[in-house]
């Protein structure tokens, strides 16, 4: 208290003289231009995309159409799209998909259409040499790729992943295969998160120009890999503790429900459209 009173009685300016001169100078520090665009644009954006997977894993509202039917229907649709020789069938599928897309929000649309367009473009690039041999239907394959990618993306956005693995289990797909997909999807998100945190930490700690940033990148990726090993071992053990035997056995309760009739009708309708547009039903109609 005495000290404070003394200070208060000090004439103005006396205390300030004791401050070192460099403290009073204004600081005009401008960090040098650091070459981190590469880091921001590539790794961070890729990893941010991975994290989207996790949002997906969380369940959404219960939908009217069961996940098993959606899964089956998408597989059938992809199969028919690949088989289709006439443009008409593809156009009808396109029209239905576009109507469905109309009801999604803008952000979702972008998230679905961007990868699909990129896939189609990539396919077109691969097909481009065929143009030199005068192949006229050059863009049919990219069109098919676009359609199938959009359909799969729609399925992924619509259905929580755990329901899809359940559906796969119900279809007697080998357990090892399902487990690989299941764990991969979960871990892409988890490891993405880990790597993202590490990268952000590196960015925050590199004040000004850090020329060794790229040397640390190897460390980050290595760290992520080690973490992945730890996570995997822990998860597998945890699953074993919970009586996981490697089988995705789904208890099949096949109670007849009214909506099953609808499923059959929709599937039949799709098949009829396919057969009609491919010309197999032409003999019946004439």
């Amino acid at each position: 208290m005495e000290r404070i009173k003394q200070l208060k009685h000090c004439p103005a300016g006396q205390g300030r003289n004791k401050m070192p001169a460099w403290l009073l100078q204004k600081d005009y520090y401008q960090p040098g231009h650091s070459t981190e665009n590469f880091l921001n644009k590539t790794l961070l954006s890729i990893i941010a995309k991975m994290i989207i997977f996790r949002e997906n894993a969380i369940g959404s509202k219960k939908s009217f159409v069961s996940a098993s039917f959606k899964f089956f229907f998408v597989l059938l649709l992809i199969f028919l799209i690949s088989l289709a020789r006439s443009l008409l069938f593809l156009l009808i599928v396109l029209a239905v998909v576009l109507i469905y897309l109309c009801f999604l929000s803008g952000h979702r649309l972008l998230a679905i259409l961007k990868p699909a367009l990129a896939a189609a473009l990539f396919c077109l690039l691969i097909m481009l040499p065929a143009a030199f041999w005068g192949m006229s239907s050059l863009w049919v394959l990219p069109f098919k790729v676009f359609l199938t990618t959009v359909i799969v993306a729609l399925l992924a956005y619509n259905t929580p992943f755990y329901l899809l693995t359940k559906a796969m289990g119900g279809m007697h797909i080998p357990g090892l295969f399902i487990m690989a997909i299941d764990i991969a999807v979960r871990y892409i998100a988890l490891l993405g998160n880990t790597a993202y945190d590490l990268l952000i930490a590196l960015k925050l700690r590199s004040v000004g120009k850090n020329k060794r940033k790229y040397q640390s990148l190897g460390g980050i990726m290595g760290m992520t890999f080690i973490k992945s090993q730890e996570y995997a071992a822990e998860t597998y053990n945890a699953m074993l503790c919970r009586c996981f035997t490697g089988e995705y056995h789904v208890a099949q309760h096949h109670h007849f429900q009214k909506k099953h009739v609808l499923y059959v009708l929709v599937t039949l309708f799709l098949l009829i459209i396919f057969l009609y547009t491919e010309g197999y039903l032409a003999t019946w109609f004439h």
Partner: protein
């Protein structure tokens, strides 16, 4: 009113492209400033309406057809700048995907239908509404605005057609592009639009406007509720009804293919030749030429085209809306 390729010379098209670029730029700027972000997807709905209305071809005495555009409707609902963008995108999709209206002539078509039409219609609507501020006055203003708007656009299209034979002919005196001079093109275009398409446009505009005000007043007045489901239902009805546009079997005046034009007798006799550039000019194969798909009946192809065109427009503007909205949130 969709001017096909090779009816206008490339230089004419260039002039309109130069005219449209600043208009588009300014419209986008105005829409960004004035329209709330959540209404940008509505431009797509407007474009979808316009797209569908242009599919309803109406028969005109004399064997040709014409159609409404719906530009005044969008201009009254969302403002003329939004209408300019909406119709331009609808025209672009028509040109690229459906081969309706030329690719080179796109800027000229946009000038007539996306600039002259909504702006004329909108300002006439505003003028009459100010002079006669009542419910009836509002209705009359919409009718007259839409009627004059589309006729003004038709007049501009006719003038664009009509100056071609004056400017571009070959050594034999045969026109290189559109062969009909002003004294043929202006009466032909205006007759169709004054008698049939203009009335259709006015009635369509008023009917759809009243429907929208009734079910979803929020689209026009910011504070009120905005409901899209009834509007999507209306779009669905229009899509299902679109094959009615096939009943009018003729080709619209000034939209003939190269093989049709030689037999046309707008001059009072058969033209008798195919203008040089139409026979060997720029050609582009659309995905669905004339809204038809090979392998299915015309009506089914028409519906398929309507669905794909409408959905494309709605999706494009939803994405644009979310991109603008996202940019604003981070800024």
């Amino acid at each position: 009113m969709h001017i096909p390729d090779n009816y206008l010379s490339p230089s004419t098209c260039g002039v309109f492209a130069v005219a449209m670029l600043p208009l588009w730029y300014y419209s986008i700027k105005k829409v960004k400033e004035e329209l709330p972000k959540d209404k940008i997807p509505l431009i797509g709905v407007g474009a979808a309406f316009s797209f569908l209305m242009m599919m309803f071809n109406l028969p005109i005495p004399g064997g040709t057809t014409a159609h409404a555009v719906g530009g005044t409707l969008i201009a009254i609902l969302l403002g003329p700048y939004a209408a300019c963008i909406a119709i331009s995108v609808a025209l672009l999709i028509q040109a690229v995907v459906f081969g309706d209206g030329g690719l080179l002539a796109f800027a000229a078509n946009a000038f007539n239908m996306a600039f002259i039409l909504p702006f004329t219609g909108y300002y006439i609507f505003r003028l009459i509404k100010n002079i006669w501020p009542s419910a009836l006055g509002n209705k009359i203003a919409i009718l007259i605005g839409a009627y004059i708007g589309i006729n003004m656009a038709a007049l501009f299209a006719a003038v664009e057609f009509g100056i071609q034979p004056l400017l571009f002919t070959d050594a034999a005196g045969h026109a290189l592009y559109c062969p009909y001079p002003l004294n043929v093109s202006v009466p032909a275009m205006l007759m169709a639009h004054l008698l049939i398409a203009g009335i259709a446009e006015a009635v369509f505009t008023l009917a759809i406007y009243e429907f929208i005000i009734k079910v979803s007043p929020g689209i026009v007045h910011n504070s009120k509720k905005m409901k899209l489901n009834p509007i999507f239902a209306l779009i669905l009805v229009l899509i299902l009804a679109s094959p009615l546009g096939l009943l009018a079997s003729g080709t619209a005046w000034g939209e003939w293919g190269a093989d049709e034009i030689a037999a046309d007798n707008s001059l009072g006799m058969m033209l008798g030749y195919i203008p040089d550039k139409m026979a060997n000019g720029f050609s582009y194969d659309a995905l669905f030429p004339d809204y038809a798909v090979s392998g299915i009946p015309d009506a089914a192809g028409y519906i398929l085209s309507a669905v794909i065109g409408t959905a494309l427009l709605i999706i494009i503007f939803k994405i644009i809306g979310s991109m603008l909205g996202g940019a604003n949130k981070t800024a």
